[in-house]
């Protein structure tokens, strides 16, 4: 009987080793350890043994059963892992396939430039003022020291709707309106918006474009304040190592008037195609608010002074991004617009 038991054990262990998957191994379990299996049969057959042999035999059967069980569990663990691995293997995907696209649009490049400028000045305590695009001649010209017949009116041929109403040629009327509304109080504003001039559309001209202007009025506002403010702006927009220079110029609504150049951000001042070999790039016009403009809006120009500046977001975007044709801003070619998706931080 002992020999029979050993024979059974060898057989069972061979079958366990030979089982190649969980199913086969389960069959082995049922075959040897199940209620109808040979080991159970052996235990049932113990009644025929002499009483003194029974404990010894019982122990022997239990040892065999224990060993078969342990080996079976060991084998089961291996086969289960193997089964999982096979399943995982079969589930492998091609991770180089494209992901499900997340639909995402982006701001127009002019909005991008305007908001960047707005946010810079907001951080310096400015508010944003806006005004009508269809404007009275008074606010567009007269309140800005450009009476009817003034030669500087030729500088900006305008779209009139009636004798006194026109599409604004600059965002300066917002300044005039704000001054009038503030009734002599200090002001610190930025005015962005669309403007219109009688120009034929080509690579560098557009009958509609945008402007962004700034105005500060207060006690003892000096030209040095203008220079310092513009310097902060230039460094923020075009890089920390930008230098600025002011050149005298002329605008009817400021006196003195200047134009601001920045040192070329491409060549750093050595001269290149962006700066037309001069090392400097013209960015904006500015000046101290003309006393006539202050007085017309009800300010005491002896007590309060101010500065103003104005620039073209189109020009800034063209310089910053290397855009060669102003018409791109108004054509809305998706291949152009979607290039302004990414951030530049």
């Amino acid at each position: 009987m002992e020999a029979q038991l050993n024979e059974l054990k060898t057989q069972a262990l061979d079958k366990i080793a030979a089982a190649s998957n969980v199913k086969e191994l389960n069959a082995v379990r049922v075959a040897y350890l199940g209620k109808k299996g040979p080991i159970t049969d052996l235990l049932k057959g113990m009644g025929k043994l002499p009483a003194e042999e029974r404990p010894k035999m019982g122990a022997l059967v239990n040892v065999v059963r224990e060993e078969v069980t342990v080996r079976l569990e060991e084998r089961m663990a291996i086969l289960e892992e193997q089964a999982i691995n096979e399943k995982l293997q079969s589930e492998t995907i091609d991770i180089t396939l494209p992901g499900r696209p997340v639909k995402s649009g982006n701001a127009h490049p002019l909005t991008r430039v305007i908001e960047e400028i707005e946010d810079l000045f907001i951080s310096m305590g400015y508010e944003i003022e806006e005004g009508p695009e269809v404007e009275k001649d008074y606010y567009n010209f007269e309140a800005l020291n450009l009476p009817k017949g003034h030669p500087a009116r030729d500088m900006q041929d305008s779209f009139y709707i009636s004798e006194d109403i026109l599409l604004r040629t600059h965002t300066s009327p917002v300044q005039a309106r704000t001054m009038e509304a503030k009734g002599g109080e200090p002001i610190k504003i930025i005015c962005p918006g669309k403007v219109y001039r009688r120009d034929n559309d080509d690579a560098t001209h557009s009958h509609q474009f945008t402007q962004i202007e700034g105005l500060v009025i207060g006690e003892d506002i000096r030209m040095s304040d203008l220079k310092g403010t513009l310097s902060v702006f230039a460094k923020k927009m075009f890089g920390e190592d930008r230098e600025i220079r002011l050149r005298p110029s002329f605008f009817p609504f400021t006196e003195p008037s200047v134009e601001m150049d920045i040192s070329c951000f491409k060549c750093g001042g050595e001269g290149c195609n962006v700066c037309k070999k001069t090392g400097w790039i013209e960015i904006l016009g500015a000046g101290m608010v003309h006393p006539n403009v202050l007085e017309m809006a009800g300010y005491d120009s002896k007590r309060l002074t101010g500065f103003a500046f104005g620039m073209g977001p189109e020009r800034i975007a063209m310089l910053k991004y290397g855009i060669e044709d102003i018409r791109h801003f108004y054509t809305n070619d998706v291949r152009f617009l979607s290039q302004f998706q990414r951030t530049e931080v």
């Binding site: 639909k103 040095s224 310092g228």
Partner: protein, 799 residues
């Protein structure tokens, strides 16, 4: 304004600065130098040649074989110019010479004949064709008889010169003359200005013996000076004068016209020369034109005049459009022997009006428009008389015929040094200020901390204290101004609620997958009101540049759709754009009612992940979903009501309403409209941001996260197709009472398994009680009430 540096040196020492450096100094002091033009352009080895003989080339009709004495030898040169002839002094480029554009002259054979160099036209020396005197415009240039054979053309004829091109702002009319520029350069370089010395011999006869003068419009013409010069010979001007005019961008004509132009360039004072004999009457009368009076101007155009136009007449008929252009009937010609030189002061407004009315601008009118120096009118006339006596052999009659009521005192500006420094944020010393004013030749008296400054009449732009601040600053140097920041009370700054909401809309739209577009506000009359919800009378420009840009838009959609078509025409089939911008509606006021709108236009696929089999074309509900999401973001309750609008699909259009007001529209383009725009299915939306943003958003207070579970029951209904899901949803909500938290459509079926004219809609109803866990019985009781209400309304339960 083109400034020849050689010419400029007649009046001011330029310290032999390299031209670029001089240009930079002028720019930094306030007059922008747009270009520095080297007139010699690297020319070399170009000499005066004398054509000894000139014969036809035996093999070529249009070529001549010339023997040309070039000083050291006589060279054979083949020339193709029609005006070549023996006995001429010509410009010869010798072998080895360089011409503009890098062309190099070599010995060559032309049709078998040797050619040792080239006889040049002025164009070949780099002078613009429109500046070359007419006689030589089509051929070679012929030099004066006294030109020294073999001498260097470049130095002898002043081509070794550099021209500064000044970009003048309207205030610096003073720099529209060589003398004006000389004063500016003198102030910058701290150099004196030398005025031309005017001396000439006068005849015994007086000008007034030949000419009478009447001024009928002294307000428009307060000063008129006429000089008479007789016995002149009209001919070519000497080379130096021709070269100076060409350098200044003026085409030489003859000595008389050239002198008037020269003095114009030198003094900035327009002059005009009349043929005295053609005046016929020996009289000049200045008056306003009569209605419909006619004059043929020097450009050959006959012009009908108006009462606004000031004219010079011979007492009967107009002989010139004052300050703008002369008349053809009194033009100086080869036969002229006696001339009248006019130098006058015309009021700028009058000239501007005439110039604008006749769309005629001349060197004269552009200077009068900006205002000439009243103190140069008489000297300019004298200067012209001097030059005519020198260059045209003329005899200047004694004195002038003159009318003078012109005020020309110097303007006095009082300003304190403290004022100047406080405006600039600087500490410039009084001595430095006085030095600058002295360099500008502004006579200044300093006393009691006050400067009393007499401003020369040439600087009419200097009127107030701030103008003096600028003069001091620009010559002291803007680089010297320190950088400070305004010392104002610090306020927080920021966006208004409206502006914040606009940015929320922008970010939301972009997150939803739309690209921001910007289109034009001006459109055609035809598309101005298309798709507009509130149509008003059109607003047209008085003088549009084209019909396409003649009228202000009342809807953003026509141009936004044009942008969509632009892209689809370039095979970009899926386009999703949005725009925010103003539309312009007629209101009560003379100003328009400008209303900011938001518009969307989408076409093609909304979702496209082809390899996973996911594709979704745009439809009404894609855009409706975007609007609903926006409403949730802004916390406004938008409703959608079925509607119709021209250009939109009548069955797929809804008005968007807020508090019962229509604030927008959403719909699919009408198939005809799609076809006309060459578009496939396209959905559009437009709404008023002003309306959308009207109410302040309520403060956000959190509601408790549910502590008890909710229970969902579904109900599937068979409805007539015309019954809208929204109607049923309202019914469910009212029957469901307060335990019903949410109703959602989760299935729509319209197909063969249903009776014709029917559809099946399935709703999912969510029941919830914040106070406790609902029992099945409680839910069933409410749900049965809902179902009963539905059946009562005519809906059938789908089995």
């Amino acid at each position: 304004m083109l400034v020849s540096i050689k010419w400029l040196k007649d009046y001011v020492n330029t310290q032999d600065l390299p031209p670029a450096e001089l240009g930079e100094k002028i720019t930094r002091a306030g007059i922008e130098v747009d270009a520095v033009i080297d007139r010699s352009q690297g020319l070399s080895n170009i000499v005066v040649g004398y054509v000894e003989s000139c014969e036809k080339h035996p093999e070529a009709d249009k070529l001549s074989i010339c023997q040309v004495n070039v000083g050291e030898e006589t060279a054979q040169i083949i020339c193709g110019a029609p005006n070549i002839a023996a006995g001429q002094n010509v410009i010869v480029a010798r072998p080895g010479a360089r011409l503009p554009g890098g062309m190099k002259i070599k010995k060559a054979k032309l049709r078998g004949e040797e050619s040792n160099g080239m006889i040049c036209s002025l164009q070949e020396l780099g002078i613009e064709g429109k500046l070359v005197p007419k006689a030589y415009a089509e051929g070679i240039y012929v030099l004066p008889e006294n030109a020294e054979v073999g001498s260097d053309v470049i130095t002898n004829f002043d081509l070794d010169d550099t021209v500064l091109e000044l970009g003048l702002t309207p205030n610096r009319a003073d720099a529209m003359s060589m003398l004006g520029v000389a004063y500016e350069v003198g102030a910058i370089l701290e150099e004196e200005v030398k005025l031309p010395e005017i001396t000439y011999k006068e005849a015994e006869d007086k000008a007034s013996s030949m000419l009478t003068l009447n001024i009928d419009s002294p307000e428009a013409n307060p000063l008129y000076v006429a000089k008479v010069v007789r016995g002149i010979e009209v001919k070519e001007s000497p080379m130096w004068l021709q070269q100076r005019l060409m350098a200044a961008g003026v085409r030489p004509h003859n000595n008389v016209v050239d002198v008037t132009n020269y003095v114009l360039m030198e003094y900035g004072q327009p002059l005009h020369a009349f043929d005295y004999d053609l005046l016929e009457t020996g009289n000049i009368t200045v008056r306003h034109a009569k209605a419909d009076e006619l004059i043929t101007t020097l450009d050959g155009n006959e012009r009908k005049l108006s009462l606004n136009n000031l004219v010079i007449t011979n007492g009967e008929k107009p002989v010139a459009l004052a300050g703008v252009m002369g008349g053809a009937n009194s033009e100086v010609s080869k036969n002229t022997t006696t001339i009248v030189i006019e130098s006058a002061y015309f009021e700028s407004g009058s000239i501007r009006q005439t110039s604008k009315e006749h769309n005629l601008r001349s060197d004269a009118s552009s200077r009068y428009e900006k205002g000439v120096d009243p103190n140069r009118v008489i000297p300019a006339a004298e200067r012209a008389a001097q030059l005519l006596s020198e260059l045209a052999g003329g005899e200047v009659l004694a004195g002038s015929v003159i009318f003078d009521q012109l005020q020309r005192e110097e303007k006095i500006v009082n300003v304190s040094p403290d004022f100047i420094n406080s405006r600039l944020g600087m500490k410039i010393r009084l001595d430095d200020m006085l030095d600058i004013l002295n360099r500008l030749q502004f006579k200044t008296e300093a006393m009691n901390n006050q400067l009393m400054i007499s401003v020369p009449t040439r600087r009419q732009d200097i009127q107030i204290e701030e103008d003096i601040v600028e003069e001091i600053a620009r010559l002291y140097g803007y680089d010297e101004i320190p950088s400070t920041l305004p010392e104002t009370a610090t306020s927080p700054g920021g966006l208004s609620p409206y502006q914040q909401k606009r940015r929320i809309v922008r970010n939301y739209m972009e997150g939803a997958g739309l690209l921001q577009a910007t289109t034009y506000s001006l459109t055609s009359e035809k598309s101005a009101t298309q798709f507009a919800m509130k149509q008003t009378e059109l607003t047209r420009l008085l003088m549009p540049m084209s019909e396409e840009r003649s009228t202000l838009r009342q809807s953003l959609l026509p141009h936004l759709l044009e942008s969509v078509s632009y892209n689809t025409a370039r095979r970009i089939d899926s386009v999703a754009l949005y725009e925010t911008g103003s539309v312009f509606l007629k209101g009560q006021d003379e100003l328009l009612n400008e209303e900011e709108h938001l518009a969307i236009a989408v076409t093609g696929l909304w979702l496209d992940n082809s390899w996973q089999g996911e594709k979704k074309a745009v439809d009404f509900f894609v855009v409706k979903g975007i609007v609903e999401g926006l409403a949730a973001k802004l916390d406004v309750e938008l409703e959608f009501e079925r509607g119709e609008l021209d250009g939109l699909h009548p069955g797929r259009t809804a008005f968007i309403t807020l508090d019962g007001r229509r604030i927008g529209v959403i719909g699919q383009l009408h198939p005809n409209e799609q076809k006309a725009r060459d578009l496939k299915t396209t959905i559009v939306m437009e709404l008023s941001l002003v309306e959308l943003f009207k109410d302040q958003t309520e403060a956000l207070v959190y509601t408790q996260v549910p502590r008890y579970p909710s229970i969902t029951r579904d109900v599937a209904l068979v409805l007539s197709k015309i019954v809208e899901a929204g109607t049923i949803e309202k019914l469910i909500r009212s029957a469901g009472g307060k335990l019903l938290k949410d109703v959602r459509v989760f299935d729509l079926y319209e197909g063969d398994n249903l009776e014709a004219g029917k559809k099946s809609v399935a709703f999912s109803l969510t029941y919830f009680d914040p106070e406790k866990t609902l029992t099945d019985e409680e839910v069933t009781a409410v749900h049965e009430k809902v179902v009963a209400a539905l059946i009562e309304s005519g809906a059938e339960l789908r089995s």
